[in-house]
Amino acid sequence: MINAIASQSGFLVLLSLFAVGAAGSLLLRRNDRLANYWNGFFAIAGSLWGILFSLVLLNATRAVSFAAAPSIFPLLSISFKIDKLSAFFIFVITLITLFCSIYGIGYIRHFYNKYSIGALGLFYHLFVLGMLLVVTADNGLFFLIAWEIMSVVSYFLVIYDRNDEKNIKAGFLYLVMTHIATAFIVFAFLLLYKFTGSFDFDAIKSGVSLIPSAVKNAVFVLAIIGFGTKAGIIPFHIWLPGAHPAAPSHVSALMSGVMIKTGIYMLIRIFLDMLQPVPLWWGLGLLVIGSVSSLLGVLYALTEHDIKRLLAYHSIENIGIILLGLGSSLSFLSLGMPSLSLLGLVAALFHTLNHATFKSLLFLSAGSVINETHIRNMEKYGGLIKNMPQTALFFLVGSMAISALPPFNGFFSEWLTFQALFQGVSTLAVSAKWVFVAAAGALAFTGGLALACFVKAFGVTFLARPRSGEAQEAGESSFSLRFAMGALAALTLLFGIFSGHITSLINRVGNDLSVFSCTTSFVSAFPDQSLAVGSFSTVSAPVLLAFLVAAFIVVLLTIKYLVYKNQKVTTGLTWDCGTDLTPRMEITATGFARSIVTIFKAVLKPGISNATEYLDEESRYVPQSRTVILSVKDMYKSYLYKPLDKIAAAMSERAKGIQSGNINAYILYILTALLIALLLVK
């Protein structure tokens, strides 16, 4: 039975479940309700099968590897290879898809009779299918096709809510950025092909010694730009805060929780698997990129008031944290310390899994709030904990996990990342050491700012009093939404408590890569779920949990029996100095973040502009309305993308000279180009 699942046919069943789901949704597009149920059923069945399949493969001894069909093109082979790294990513994808699909059944009801549910189902299934193909493809060209399926289909999901002009714009930016990124990826694969003579990953891997080091470095830069754009590293992230919020919430959860991880998957696959051995500066470069992304990501998140954009910026931050793990892993490997290197990889992969769970949880809870209030601006929320207590609880769990508070899962992967960085600080020579010191500092700083940001997000959204009629009228979400959120919240806790199990599982994933095939990891997990990094430090989830519970009980008892012992407790109104407290007196998201924004004004460049409208423009005694606009300057747009745009525009202006509009001239150009090409290729 187990052999039957972990085989070629098991994988094809997985793909076909999603394919049938896609086709069926399209056929049933006339009936919204039927399409929704079909969509939900096949997505849930497919993800359950995917979880089973990947778990079996993670415990199997050998990888599944096969070519689906003899290809008619010489360089393209539709071949799959599912080793433990792929299986791990299949697990992450299907796990999150499962809960997003359950959530989707209830969530997409409000699209009935507005947009086509069948189309949504089609794109949703194709999207998951694309991601599954991306993490299993074993051929460069086939991979690119899968990558394009994923990218283009997710574009359609971004513009699904097409009545909003902003979504169309965000989708367009996404489409442009993702294709520029694909161009870099294509170029990277072409370089690899030129020197190894094949697009097959295995062939590239075995022929890696043929690649000159300069070309390898070029491939590194191309891959960082290409896959980094998809992963959302700064400064290639500009599409992400626009595109993720535009999609329906359960799709945002998938995009932010899972899709950007495919970029990480390919970085691991290329750097750690295919191009080994690599120079030291690659790892250090990744550390720098990771530090910058995590710090700037969280800083921009602090300035956001749109709840989904805020979460999208946090994805950038967490990708940065994952890159810190991956970067330390690469550095250690180049320095010949595979045991420490495996520690870095485990940290990165564990954080990948954790970020997928808590980020999708946060997006789903944000979606639940948006579904009830129909607004995304946090300043207009407030007091939702009274109307939506369960959603508030789930959002709180997600916030605690993303802020790396124990006993939730975010803590353990960030702890491992810290350990990897500290090991670098304590073992490495001077120059590399300082990069690790800076990275550890950036990570600590990021953790603190993330906590501040989620105090803001949770407090402004759920506490105090409603600041708008919509927030006042909101009610609790339907069962399928609450079930999906609750299950994910439970998972964030379970992944934290059973961090020992998961770490040893990920250790095995690492050992499956050929560079780590006979490496014992520097991090060891014990049956009592405690983790030990060498003899340097240990952490134990059950002990932490027991300590927290004990501390909670002690504080509760102290308050009850010592502080309140001789006191009568009366409830009354808040003292308001005789006036009436209104929601306008509450602290706002802007106000809360303003002090931190001011501290970082060198980076964020906050601006303030006042405008006063007078009743009588002549006398200017009686102001009619005052407007204060606080803004944050987008550095990348003004210093990177605007100049690039200007250069492109100037070049197009030059090119206008040969665009005569005369068809004979164009035929001449084509002929010249053909002749030159023929001469060059011979």
Binding site: K568, T570, G572, L573, W575, D576, C577, G578
Partner: protein, 179 residues
């Protein structure tokens, strides 16, 4: 609401007579010393007073403010005026209680933690004084909240206020006014 009404009627408004001659003859310092002893005995050395202006003509406020100036300086006797009824042991209400201020006075009373002492300062606060019978006022603090003590005078001088305060504290007899 009914409870409050019952309490308003059941609370005796006590005016402790202080003969003007007594007060004039005594030095501020002597009264102050005695007040300090009482405050130490009853309030562990610190009596917090919240002053509530219930539509007063500001005469009483002038005199109350004078208590804090360099000459009287009541802080040295352990009395201090606080910014919020939440921190107060005693409410000093001035003014005849205009209709607009009635709700605010009641809220301030509710916000003061038990046990609390309410003192109506000035003739206006006791029964409306010169504003008595006006359609705009409610004729005294006792019509809105239960008043425990009254300090007459239009306005009472700072020294008079101190003398009354001493009498009030002496009459408390170890037990602050019932809540």
């Amino acid at each position: 609401m009914l409870k409050l009404l019952v309490k308003i009627f059941s609370t005796p408004d006590v005016t402790i007579p202080v003969t003007p001659a007594d007060c004039v003859r005594t030095e501020v310092m002597a009264v102050g010393k005695k007040i300090e002893d009482q405050v130490k005995r009853l309030f562990r050395g610190s009596l917090a007073i919240r002053q509530v202006d219930a539509g007063s003509d500001n005469a009483c406020e002038q005199e109350l403010v004078a208590l804090s100036n360099a000459f009287y300086d009541v802080e040295r006797f352990g009395i201090h005026f606080v910014a919020s009824p939440r921190h107060a042991d005693m409410l000093m209400v001035t003014g005849p209680v205009t209709r607009n201020m009635a709700a605010a006075v009641k809220r301030a009373y509710d916000a003061t933690p038990d046990p609390k002492i309410v003192v109506a300062v000035g003739d206006d606060a006791i029964d409306g004084g010169i504003y008595r019978g006006s359609y705009a006022v409610l004729d005294g603090v006792h019509s809105v909240i239960p008043v425990d003590y009254q300090i007459p005078g239009d306005p009472p001088s700072p020294k008079t206020i101190l003398c009354h305060l001493l009498k009030i504290l002496e009459s408390l007899n170890g037990k602050p006014a019932e809540s």
